[in-house]
Symmetry: C3
């Protein structure tokens, strides 16, 4: 298991960590199987989405804000309940295939760390498990 | 694969099953890799979120109810379409790293079974796959 | 890793690919562990939900359309931002246990490819990793 640090600079932000994850896979000399990327936090998430046009990330943040609204009935004293909800909706981890030592992603896919209650110092854990012909 | 039973007591409820999952990992004598927790049901889910303040779980349930609304166009005769949607949004399974026999979770993270159409007798399946140095 | 092709015929569509995934598992002669199903696309997703009543799939599509709305602030020029958001909410991949060569799914569970910006030619990658007694 390799720990990758992520420093976020805004309240809400998606940061492309594909290269960091690939570096972790390469550092292990891992060949074939799957790579699991897990965030240690409950007001953040990890997702796979488009890495070509930065407007996509802008629109995802905007859309999530319009979907997950502050509610009068919220009880959690820290005031970041929407970030907790976004974390469970987007998900705490992603898993990606690895083939011949390389992450297998579609043409437009990148792995994103999703900050929903920043800025903070965050981390993700990268773990690889081999396929039978690994 | 180990089966863990979960008895829910309300229509909607998040139940912390971290200890049950850890027990399954320990029972197998599993050391290093990833642990996959999958619910066998289509009106339930599994997620990772805060286990310190129970108000977080309250707010998640409230928020999901405000997001996934009953619609006049729903066709499914059982009347539980919102539970099916929540299941796909939150997700049927989570995967968590395991290091030296212990689930690796952030300070505030717990694994939750999410009931969206209870109360019912439910189950989750726990499967571990080793990393190369496992 | 086995590639499965999926041809979608509508703008939005959920297609049951359980049999295709099982065929990939069987083709590999894979016995015990987990099976990871990943879509290569950022305007599509993979989920597990009910395969008995087709009205469930209808209601999921309808509900997602009511949740993820077009917003005046969207910037992405291709006009498919809602599809990108749905992709991250539902998720790019699912993982399912495998026991004695068979996918382990609940009575009503099927694996669905989710098209949110079709029709298109799509693909998913199937990767299996064994448990210790695999």
């Amino acid at each position: 298991m390799i720990t990758v640090s992520v420093a976020t600079s805004r309240k809400e932000q998606l940061i492309d960590i594909t290269r960091d994850v690939q570096n972790a896979v390469s550092k292990r000399g891992f060949a074939n199987g799957i790579c699991h990327v897990h965030t240690a936090h409950t007001t953040a998430a990890v997702t796979v989405n488009e890495n070509a046009d930065p407007d996509v990330v802008h629109d995802i943040i905007l859309s999530l804000d319009s979907i997950v609204k502050e509610l009068p009935g919220f009880r959690h004293g820290e005031g970041n309940s929407t970030a907790h909800v976004k974390s469970s909706l987007v998900g705490n981890s992603v898993t990606v295939p690895v083939d011949n030592g390389q992450l297998v992603l579609g043409t437009w896919q990148g792995i994103y760390f999703c900050e929903f209650d920043g800025p903070r110092s965050r981390k993700v854990w990268v773990t690889c498990t081999p396929s039978e012909n690994g």
